[in-house]
Symmetry: D2
């Protein structure tokens, strides 16, 4: 495999390919930052290094391309890599505009023999996939409500502020994972959405008509309900919580986002320390999704996450942003 993008998450993906996936090999790394390429090549002995993505695509020793570049590059690189004959894994989001997403969809459709997978890694977390299985087994009857929390630790706020101009806003940047989860668990598409938000702690987001905390209420086409809360100012850590309520029970995932199995008893009481960030919380999920991609390539089958999941989640995020910006109810389609 070859990988493009060697930022913090990209480097972790590279390490996973090289060291944690038995039936995959990292042969090429690509980044516009040459020092990143050099460092990874020499540290792990990677044969090929590129600073130009299209050049990497001429390497016929590669079978698959992993895209972990900035979001604005995803769709173009997906298209180029598929057209060059590679299997493709792309980090989320699929794209920053619906138009881009449609181009990516068309590229995938042009190459039905190639595996394409999108990095909605939460579906591959052991707790999230366990919940999916429980639902499929009927443990909660028919699901009709989902509640999703996606809260970043306030310790990461400066990075978020720096990134605010190009992030696409809190719904596209953060809640998109939750919109995917909601579609996955409820097996329905969005009918209407109302979103609210504000800059409660950090006015900086206001310059970009963005929020530091926002919420949305969604009605799905099967009448199911979705409550979404995305925030950037969580005091206690990285808090990803999902609840699915059905006619005969409910499931909660991560209701207290514990760091591990240690409880500390001290003058504050019984303290459950919380996850520090997505790399800690979803460490295994990142490996699992990659393993699934590689297995799909090897076994010549398709993953359950499709390019359309990317487009549809993006559409919901756009509708939420629209609703929030204009304080109006938005109907999809």
């Amino acid at each position: 495999m070859g990988i493009v993008g060697l930022g913090r998450l990209g480097r972790q993906h590279a390490e996973n390919i090289e060291f944690r996936i038995p039936n995959a090999e990292l042969s090429a790394v690509c980044s516009i930052v040459k020092s990143e390429v050099d460092e990874v090549q020499s540290a792990w002995g990677i044969e090929y290094g590129y600073t130009n993505f299209d050049e990497m695509l001429t390497n016929k020793e590669l079978d698959a391309i992993f895209i972990s570049s900035p979001s604005g590059e995803h769709c173009r690189q997906i298209e180029a890599a598929l057209d060059a004959g590679f299997h493709v894994f792309s980090e989320k989001p699929l794209g920053l505009t619906i138009e881009e997403c449609i181009l990516a969809e068309k590229a995938v459709e042009r190459h039905p023999d190639k595996v394409f997978m999108l990095g909605f890694m939460r579906r591959y977390d052991s707790s999230y996939s366990y919940a999916k299985r429980k639902i499929q087994e009927g443990a909660i009857g028919k699901p009709f409500l989902i509640r999703c929390y996606g809260l970043d630790p306030v310790s990461a706020i400066q990075g978020a502020i720096k990134f605010a101009a190009t992030s696409g806003g809190i719904f596209l940047d953060m809640a998109i994972h939750d919109f995917d989860l909601a579609r996955w668990y409820l097996e329905s598409e969005v009918r209407s959405i109302y979103a609210v938000g504000g800059c409660f702690g950090y006015k900086e987001f206001g310059k970009f008509s963005d929020a530091d905390n926002a919420a949305a209420l969604v009605q799905f086409k099967n009448d199911a309900m979705g409550m979404f809360y995305a925030g950037r100012t969580s005091a206690h850590g990285y808090h990803i919580e999902t609840e699915i309520v059905g006619t005969e029970g409910a499931l909660r995932i991560g209701t207290i986002p514990v760091k591990n199995q240690v409880t500390v008893f001290n003058q504050n009481g019984a303290v459950l320390e919380c996850s520090s960030g997505f790399m800690e919380r979803f460490e295994d999920a990142y490996v699992n999704e990659l393993q699934e991609f590689v297995n799909c390539v090897v076994e010549n089958r398709k993953p359950s996450v499709t390019v359309y999941d990317g487009t549809r989640s993006t559409k919901i995020a756009y509708a939420a942003t629209d609703s929030f910006k204009h304080n109006k109810l938005v109907f999809l389609d």
Copy 2:
């Protein structure tokens, strides 16, 4: 005190007045069901019994009237009792229409020397009042989001179906407590509301354009956000959960609605049994609110729950119902 209404909750209130409030005495009971009056009188040796409310108001030995009659009677009885010179405690909701509520407000205003209190007992639960104090002490900074769950056990569904025609709908019947809590914790009024819902398990509610489960998203005038979920089909029990998120932390009350401090380890895993209903969960809160009412009378001061809290919560419930029935965004005032 005299009490009107000796149904299940009314009888509990009567018992609390008689046995659990040291500085109050139950001297009169009133119900249109004579057998209820007779039974309570003879069981506890209560001096006066009435089947006519207005007749009870002629009893000059009484200082205060407790109203636990059907919701449609509340406002009229509040007015009559105040005008007859009594202090008045009324169960929630204040009334079934805004017009009624305004009449009750006017009656309270006519008698500034009388204590009037509304039965939003959750404010007097030890966990809810503890959370309020923590917020006032600054433990979570400035609150900007509230999430409220109000779920009745599915074991009570037949009663809810029977009551469906006159309940006013799920928002007026159930979520009104949560609307009061939201206003109390956020200290702001509602700007806009969007509500969705459906009959996911029990089609019977559809006949009355009601839902068995419903959710609402609210924007408050200070930009704070409110997420509300009311349901009648909870498999695990009576689930009242409230979360308040602020700029520096968050509080959750009842995140797992445990029955008591026992954890059962059996073939299912570690099992936390849940509250069976409001009488179990808020047993102490019912006593505490009553004690506060009596203390206000004795000490000649006013409780923090006012008649206006009743009207405003009712207005929100009406707006939610309107939004849900017509699938539209509703702006208040």
Copy 3:
């Protein structure tokens, strides 16, 4: 009822008798501290006040005597009150020596028509009694192991140090509640005991051959096992935890000794604040045990806690102390 002893807990008992037990009336208070007597009499309008216990026993208007005096007085006062024709409730421990306990036993046996009850209030806590019922219903099969934690908050350490010379040691002072619980849940008596301990934080207890933290392992006559841990230096608060393991499951009571249903999320993580002391944790249990005593008197029946429970728990505490002081295994009987 008349009460002797108006210290912190005694005053609470007095308040419970006066205000929280509908079918009891507090008519007399007794304390060697005259100011305490005066204060309670005038605050609540109690008719009779005494500074001499035997004088109170001459008051023929009283039906029952509540003993909340220092532990060294219990047995003598129990005997005197029973012989004077009263029903008697005594705080734990029954006595400070086995000889005293035997005298109290004989007094109880001399007056089979009188109700005698000992203040093992934990049995009347809603969680503890719920656990007992679950066991009786067979929820965990046959119980064969109990683990008991009894930890006082370190905030109370100065009081414990002051009291160290006369407390009888950590097992008699603190673990005696747990020995009673173990006998109650396991329905067996102790065969052997080994106890260890030390002064890990406060050397002051060493002067009295006492410990600030101590543990014991017990084998019961039915082969069941008991693990006991008593401590005076708990950082997080008052921690009373009990686990009963059976052949088909297990129950834990108070595994995290939460103060209430509020979870605080802040920079420390998810924080469950803990009980501050026994008055907070067992507030309801103190009322419930008293209600049971009064009901027994009224209904002419006997409570399940007997005088023998007092003697036997004391014997275990003595054996534990003996084992700890001499680092040896002690067999009872």
Copy 4:
């Protein structure tokens, strides 16, 4: 590396070496069961296969030997492998007799240039190692009490019964992990031990003077206390729980042995499903300990788990067994 023993756990170790440790390679597998050797060789393309351990030791392409054979073989194989010039990793226990352990110690001492590591994998679990770091950072002051639960799910009872004749008993077979943890966290050795137990559900263990559930109380040389409970009949699953109490706080690891982050709300209440067994609970720890071993070899340093940890834990287990069998207090050394 070469591995001996391809049973359930051995095969997992082999898979870890081959697929999860980037800087290790599995070149040889050995088992007296030829079909196991053949299967692993062909499934993963392992070059060398042996049914004779000593033959494997003649393979000079190997650097290290992993021993996952039956416990009775450990010491002899450790000695042989070290003497043949290999680094050695051995599963616990070190040996079945103290004499064997001493021989292994001597072999390790003869080869100071070789890495020897014992499979006390719990030390490498992320929660257990986190707790160790917290203690080292002073989070709980000075530790003075440890409580260890090691409970196997009752679903595994038939295997335990089959293995009962040769397991060495519940303390040697199960509690040995806990004795190691206690020594690790408390940094002290055992002074005295008292152990009790019984056959509460399965009389079969009685034939071998063994117990299905047993408990021990230990006094350490620094006066610290240890409470140990090992059981084979846990209804709710595999329950490994450890609590360390210090002068300024306490830590609990795995107080509810949850399977994952999902909470199920159903008619039973809020249900936390539990771990099914050691392979699920310690999946990552098995990889981590192996990684540490390989890193030690590569970086020419020694792991913190030594051969002496094996001997000392075994001595405690023997003392516990002696105490339990003869119902007496046992002093070590």
